[in-house]
Symmetry: C2
Subunit: 145 residues, 2 copies
């Protein structure tokens, strides 16, 4: 665990790439099993924590605002989210997840068996270490939060 092998930047980026691809594949498959695309599931995942304006959603999903219209349209058509007018700014529409939407995203999370099995191979201390290292490397960008 303290060796130097496999620690140069190129190899680490390859490992990150492969790991994140595995995670993303697991997420996409779980979403597909509920007939949702990855973008739709990601949107539900964000809304799971609370309502957000269209513009805010687009910023979080790093896509153009015009894309959110279609994504939210499809989620709304399936009754997984709802558009509500903002009380404070009549230009803004807040998107709210429905009870059914919460149910579906929770099911998807529960279906990420590959990721869960992988994380289960780590003990508590290793999981804390992994969390801390990812946080250091990815969550402290100067102006990307």
């Amino acid at each position: 665990m303290t060796g130097t092998r496999g620690a140069d930047t190129a190899q680490l980026m390859e490992m990150l790439s492969a790991s994140l691809a595995a995670y993303y594949g697991d997420f996409t498959a779980a979403a597909a099993s509920e007939n949702l695309t990855a973008s739709q599931a990601k949107t539900l995942n964000v809304l799971r924590r609370g309502p957000a304006a269209m513009r805010v959603l687009a910023a979080i999903l790093t896509c153009d605002a015009s894309n959110m219209t279609g994504i939210v349209d499809r989620l709304e058509k399936r009754g997984l989210v709802q558009r509500e007018p903002s009380p404070t700014d009549r230009r803004v529409k807040n998107v709210v997840i429905t009870t059914e939407g919460e149910r579906v995203i929770d099911v998807i999370r529960g279906k990420m068996h590959t990721t869960r099995a992988g994380l289960d191979r780590l003990d508590d201390e290793e999981r804390s270490t992994l969390y801390a290292l990812l946080e250091r490397a990815f969550m402290q960008q100067p102006a990307t939060a």
Copy 2:
């Protein structure tokens, strides 16, 4: 680094999700700066290590074989890859990266400033640890390699 905070599965999966978004956003932006989509750049990245048949590429990129036709078409039209007939099986076409393709994917890798800066925050031992943990968690799936 040995604390227990932030180590439960749900939080760790959130951190993975956020890390993925940061990494993928960095990669996508770098690819876009060279007028390539993420799928096109990912294909070049795979071919950087050697030729591969259409079918094999599709398996690695986890998409249907029919998708590769279009992706490789566009890369070929820009002179970044070439289709070559397999000497051993006349059904198979091997896709080979060109010198220009190698140049472009190397440029893209070099432009992943956010990811590189993040990894630079870790010292050698931390990088080795991160590599080992990711390998344990994601690279030892029973039948997904």
